[in-house]
Symmetry: C2
Subunit: 326 residues, 2 copies
């Protein structure tokens, strides 16, 4: 990979040049440490330009219609002259070394628009695959002048916790099914949501009965959740990205959420908490990788595991022994 | 605290002397590292005698009737000539430096019986307060010859994850209320349960209608959960510890669970996984405390946090900087 100079990356991103932005993200995702170091120097220089976008996380199980949903609200945002970056995070790409969400054609209209930047982001190694790189990518997009940064993730693991810890607003998409709305989704994810949308909720512009029922059930269930720090009561909406129903209302709900946060000062508070979360998470992750990636240590660990399995030593004593040898 | 000699602890515990056992546990819980070291030497010597008991975790929100429940099934077990150790874990004791669960009078009949050992265990610092010490205490009880070790915990935090990782069977107590059985309890905890008991489910030996409904709802909900490794389908029972209803059936359900596990070899497999879990968890916890308890490091961390909050440095760069100085 041919790299640009540090100044070329900085200037290009400042100018909102998406080709340079894209190359900087690739640099971040490189396995070569000199590439990563260069990308991070660029990021530190651009830090004063970050923090100005609205960061929105969108999650939901496969098939719920995340891409169409993002396309639908994205269109409204760009009509309003907003610039929009969409980061599609695929937690499985850690295994496949590529991103199955990278299919830009899924967002046909958005991907053709000059105000939109769509980018699959490869999963890193922190918190279920979504971590540092995605967060750094958000910051680069902000420096490039995007008004909204949407982070799309599949609702199937720890990746939501990571995404929740890097966005201002966390949006959960659900489908209304046969009365089992509450069973299908992990409780923890529902608790994190600021807004829940029942997607594919309309047929011929009419709200489906099961969507209505699902909304009611959700609102009931939400009463049992602990109150959020920001005193925002999770909103439940109905949308249909293909029919276009409820999309305008969704954008209004988003606005009212962002207003609520800004008026109460919760927007800055949340970001401050997130910064500290990632500070400590990075420390944790570095400590572990330092420890486990040591060849000497790995041999000892293998021996200890064998001793534990044979019942010759307790787990605790075995762990202690690894430290005593230091 | 006056300590015994290592050999005195070992001999006493081998003899099933509960006074010596109790003193060894106190040693484990001491904040003095020489006490802990002595206790751990004792434990390593006793290791060949551990692993023979049935380890049972009992969890549920305050008020669900855990103590009465344990008393009720405990009575059946001792009638069957079993020896029983009950460890009451209070996750809040990390704050209060004492255990509110330490009130032995709550289990009047059991606490007076010579085959029963009841002990509140102070919470440690791993996994929400329940970790190493509780697990080590289980092992000491096993070496002392108890057939059953029951670990009681309040279902309000991370402590269930810890307890789940140290027992053979995880039992969740619920109350039947006004149709909101599924809302009140964290989903993750329900997924961990091997057996769920609706407690206080009878009135004048009749199953209450809402208990019946709760059982049905639970069984429906359980269908949506992923299948367990051990191919055991979580059982739902109704009990009433005060009336004594359902308690015999509960003990039979326990037996059938333990039989299932033994026949399929899942009992050993589960314990092996738990051993490895605690091995890595102990490593993690030691790495973190080593790092954060360093005075020099703490100063740097404070400076970095200030720089992050002022927006002068990214969370990641700040964390990296702590490692570069090493």
């Amino acid at each position: 990979m041919q790299t640009l100079s540090q100044q070329q990356y900085i200037d290009g991103i400042k100018d909102g040049n998406t080709i340079v932005l894209s190359r900087a993200i690739t640099l971040l995702e490189s396995t070569r440490s000199d590439h990563q170091a260069l990308a991070r120097e660029v990021l530190e220089e651009l830090l004063p330009l970050t923090g100005r976008s609205k960061r929105l996380g969108v999650t939901g199980v496969p098939g719920v219609g995340k891409s169409t949903f993002i396309e639908a609200i994205g269109e409204l945002l760009i009509e309003d002259d907003k610039k929009l970056a969409v980061l599609a995070v695929d937690p499985s790409s850690q295994l496949s070394k590529g991103s199955i969400l990278g299919d830009k054609t899924r967002m046909e209209k958005l991907s053709a628009h000059p105000s939109v930047f769509i980018r699959p982001t490869a999963a890193g190694d922190a918190l279920g695959g979504v971590g540092r790189r995605t967060r750094e990518t958000i910051l680069l997009c902000e420096a490039a002048g995007f008004d909204y940064v949407l982070v799309e993730t599949v609702g199937v693991g720890q990746s939501e916790i990571a995404v929740h810890s890097m966005v201002d607003c966390f949006l959960l998409l659900l489908l209304s099914g046969a009365g089992d709305e509450l069973q299908g989704i992990k409780r923890g994810i529902m608790e994190m949501a600021d807004i829940i949308a029942i997607n594919k909720a309309f047929i011929n512009s009419e709200l489906k009965p099961q969507a209505k029922q699902a909304m009611q059930e959700l609102r009931n269930a939400l009463h049992y959740f602990p109150e959020k720090d920001n005193s925002w009561l999770t909103k439940v909406c109905a949308t249909d990205s293909l029919e276009g129903e409820g999309v305008q209302k969704m954008v209004e709900t988003l606005d009212s959420f962002f207003n609520h946060q800004r008026l109460k000062g919760y927007d800055l508070e949340r970001r401050k908490k997130q910064d500290l979360f990632w500070f400590h998470e990075t420390i944790r992750s570095r400590l572990l990788s330092q420890f486990y990636q040591n060849d000497e240590k790995q041999k000892e660990i293998t021996q200890m595991v064998a001793a534990i399995e044979a019942g010759r030593i307790s787990s605790f004593k075995a762990a202690d022994a690894l430290f005593e040898k230091e």
